[in-house]
Amino acid sequence: MEPRSRSFYILSAFFGLFVLFLYGPTLTIGILSFQGEGGGLTFPMRGVSMYWFYDLFEQQAVGDIWGSFRRSIVLGLMVMVTTVVVSVIGGLAFRKKFLGSGILFYLIITALVIPSILVSLGVGLLFSQSGLNVHWSTSGFGAQLTWTLPFGLLIMFAVFNRFDKSYEEAARDLGASPWQTIRYVVLPIIAPSLIGVALFGFTLSYDEFARTLLTAGSYNTLPLEIYGMTTNVTSPVLYALGTLTTLFSLLIIGGVLTLALLSNRRKARAGSDAGRAV
């Protein structure tokens, strides 16, 4: 191996600063959420306590935090499952050109680049003008899908661009039906990427704010609840909530990564070469 150049050390320092920039603020509010009872939104810490966490669990005057948390999780799971299923089928379909596939592709790109407030405004108007009530599980669900589906599809496009078609040809030569090919050959190979799509689907939905703003109706999701708090709560209870939701996100991410790691190990142990080509 050639020795490390000087630029390596400069770039390492740059990367270190970038990571600090990414994580520093979050860590700071993590620390400040343990602020003492008389403390404020910035340092110095006036003692260390769990006061603001207790506050979060007791005080219901600021709104329905736990209800919104529950709704956000249910909505996140709904979006996650839909995103995975629709993206896989869509990704499979887009491997062949069909009439209008170009138009649909541009629609997907539009969904990705359209300012989020337009989706919120448009879906809100659509429901109110057709006499329907906006609700997080209908209009909110659909509005979030316009953001998570294009993401899932882009990942699937990337996956299928790297997919070795000779696996499928081999399956076909051995007499597998199209469905068997997909079920026993394609799906197991792309399974690790599906975990990624699922993670994206859930977290993008769980944190989505702009698209649910006008489409959630009278029951808030968690980001909306937090947004409401920023305008009228000026105590570290905000940080306590931020710390808890961030911890929850990290827990989900950690769980998914462990899952991916374990399945990789199992695959390596089983000695199968499935997925190596991905």
């Binding site: 089928i89 887009f94 405004l121 108007l125 769980y206």
Partner: protein, 287 residues
């Protein structure tokens, strides 16, 4: 039945039908409705179907409009420049200076994880840093760099752009890293054998080959910043405005027709920007 399924167009549409339905109902129809409503008239309590250009006339006749559009493009341009430089450097480091795949993946994940946490929380978390008595000010004062707290750290254009860079640099890192990983390493060896130094390799080999990734990242960052309304509101302390905020203010006042007109003009400017950018790259090939 079998014959029908063998028809490529039909089976293709059958498979994308759930996707098409979602995009039709929650994307296309809402956009069309916004276009329609932008010609409607608003009273204090309701909106009335009409076909008049008053909303657009008012929009283009007001000096505020030009100011917020100028702001929007300004934020997009400055954020783009910063995210590009930072994102490119980080991706370059990960792709060419980290030698084992395990470490590449691990460090890449380190960069990705914050993206999966709440944007609002990440914005809030700048308050203890930038506030009047925040960490930045107290540190600078204890070092003797400044005598009194800097007022422009929080609730200013500075903090808005800082938050944008903080939130969106990842959208540059991921596509650029993706394209860099696909560069054939023998090209770089060939350049070195031919006598190119590090800077020449970077400028003449790596950057040209990374252009598609840069374009995709650019599209993401530019559209996210142009369409934003919450970061600007929150980080500027409601002191400056972009188009998104103009729209959300109208919505808050139930002025849907004028919000719609502004939204259409915003959408048009975003799509034109993207159209220009897409001339330089074929997205589907580059994923």
């Amino acid at each position: 039945m079998k014959k029908l399924l063998e028809n490529r167009n039909l089976s293709g549409w059958l498979m994308v039908s759930p996707l098409a339905v979602v995009l039709l109902v929650f994307l296309l129809m809402p956009i069309i409705l916004i276009v329609i409503v932008s010609f409607w008239r608003a009273t204090e309590f309701s909106i009335i179907p009409a076909f008049e250009f008053d909303n657009y006339e008012f929009l283009f006749g007001s000096s505020v409009t030009y100011k917020v559009f100028y702001n929007t493009f300004k934020y997009a341009l400055i954020t783009w420049a910063f995210t590009l430089v930072i994102g490119f450097t980080v991706a370059y480091y990960l792709a060419f200076h980290i030698r084992s795949l395990t470490w590449q993946v691990a460090l890449f994940l380190v960069c990705t994880i914050p993206f999966l946490t709440s944007n609002i929380i990440r914005m809030i978390s700048w308050i203890p840093f930038l506030g009047r008595n925040g960490i930045a000010n107290t540190t600078l004062m204890s070092w003797g760099v400044i005598d009194e707290p800097l007022e422009w750290l929080l609730f200013s254009d500075f903090s808005v752009i800082l938050a944008f860079v903080h939130l969106y640099t990842l959208f540059m890192v991921v596509p650029i890293f993706n394209t860099m990983m696909r560069i054939d390493k023998s090209l770089i060896e060939a350049a070195r054998d031919a006598g190119a130094n590090g800077a020449q390799i970077l400028w003449n080999v790596i950057i040209p080959l990374t252009k598609p990734g840069i374009m995709i990242g650019t599209i993401f960052v530019v559209t996210l910043v142009m369409g934003d309304f919450i970061t600007v509101r929150f980080m500027s302390g409601s002191q400056s405005a972009n188009v998104g905020r103009l729209i959300s203010n109208d919505i808050a006042l139930l002025q849907y027709p004028s919000a719609s007109a502004t939204a259409i003009v915003l959408l048009a400017s975003v799509l034109i920007t993207i159209g220009i950018l897409l001339r330089f790259v074929d997205i589907r090939k580059e994923l």
